[in-house]
């Protein structure tokens, strides 16, 4: 049987039942720093909800930031 997973920025990650906050820390990002934003299944999750939001299997998480653009 396939292990449950989540998709983070297009890449499969093992599902650990963590909160969004925990995931961000595990990825080596600083959750207290400005400059990143997160959508789960296409819906933006505001920073104040990161600690409460517990991820589910198959969740699609996008973590974005500003890059050079025109």
């Amino acid at each position: 049987m396939q292990e449950p997973y989540i998709i983070v920025n297009g890449v499969k990650h093992k599902f650990r039942g963590e909160t969004l906050h925990d995931l961000i820390v595990a990825l080596g990002l600083d959750p207290n720093r400005q400059g990143i934003a997160v959508a789960v299944n296409g819906e933006v999750v505001s920073r104040s909800e990161w600690r409460e939001l517990r991820l589910k299997p198959n969740d699609v998480i996008d973590i974005v930031t500003a890059v050079a653009g025109g």
């Binding site: 920025n9 400005q34 400059g35 934003a37 997160v38 933006v44 974005v64 050079a68 653009g69 025109g70």
Partner: protein, 259 residues
């Protein structure tokens, strides 16, 4: 002289907006931004690279510039609205340069989707600056739905072809009351000057600076062109005429033809 650009009640010291993409490197970008005198610089919103993390562009720009995020690369209302919300969350700013692209070869906007996205974002409290066609009707519609400025293209993005339809740009300037910022298509300083002479309130330049042989020098040229074009517009140009009109007085000429 008090001739500031005001968008949604915010005053800007420069009428030149500069994009941050496609420079040879970050040092050149920073020097070019400085030389341009721009206050507003644009950024895009993309996934964080989790494998390889470099210096954030925000660290380089924050505090020095007004950072205007765009929705570049979005093709639908949903993508554009979500990207705008992410930008607001990431940057703590409710301004958005709204792009909803309709075709990946011309990068022309998808106008029905653009208008719908603009409506939604205005309702959500965003200050919306839409990249749009050089079409007066579209621009009036965008103003009606609450956009704080309109950003008609001079020519396709990155094409460097200049202001292809100056008459439309003039019509847009006459038909809308919000600021008109020409976005896209300029190739060199004279294109920027033309946009400003037509009465535009500002110009956004990216590729024409970033891909010039000397981006820093071109940025300075763009700054001067914006200023020259603006001054010429305010000064009021003479009408064009087909036949010559001597500038020196006709009376009192030396005449060798007799009495």
């Amino acid at each position: 002289m008090n001739d500031e650009l005001v968008i949604a009640g915010r005053r800007f010291r420069s009428r030149l907006f500069v994009g941050t993409a496609r420079y040879p490197n970050q040092q050149v970008m920073l020097k070019a931004l400085e030389a341009s005198g721009a206050e507003v610089v644009t950024v895009a919103i993309r996934r964080v690279n989790l494998q390889q993390r470099g210096e954030s562009i925000l660290d380089l720009l924050a505090g020095k510039y007004f950072i205007l995020p765009n929705t570049a690369g979005c093709y639908t209302v949903r993508e554009a609205v979500t990207t705008a919300r992410l930008a607001r969350e990431a940057l703590g700013i409710n301004w958005i340069k709204l792009e909803v692209i309709g075709d990946d070869e011309t990068l022309y906007p998808n106008i029905p989707q653009l208008i719908e996205a603009a409506k939604q974002l205005v309702d959500e409290g965003f200050i919306v600056l839409p990249y749009c066609n050089d079409d007066p009707v579209t621009c009036v519609t965008l103003e009606k739905v609450g956009c704080a400025a309109v950003m008609p293209l001079g020519a396709p993005i990155g094409s460097g072809m200049g202001i292809l339809n100056p008459y439309n740009i003039r019509l847009i300037r006459e038909k809308v009351t919000v600021p008109v910022i020409v976005d896209a298509g300029v190739g060199t300083a004279s294109d920027v000057a033309i946009a400003m002479e037509l009465g535009c309130d500002g110009v956004l330049v990216n590729t024409a600076i970033a891909q010039a042989r000397d981006p820093v020098r071109m940025a300075a040229a763009m700054r001067l062109a914006v200023e020259a074009g603006r001054q010429a517009y305010l000064a009021g140009r003479i009408p064009k005429r087909l036949y010559a009109q001597p500038s020196s007085p006709v009376e009192g000429r030396v005449w060798f033809g007799g009495p």
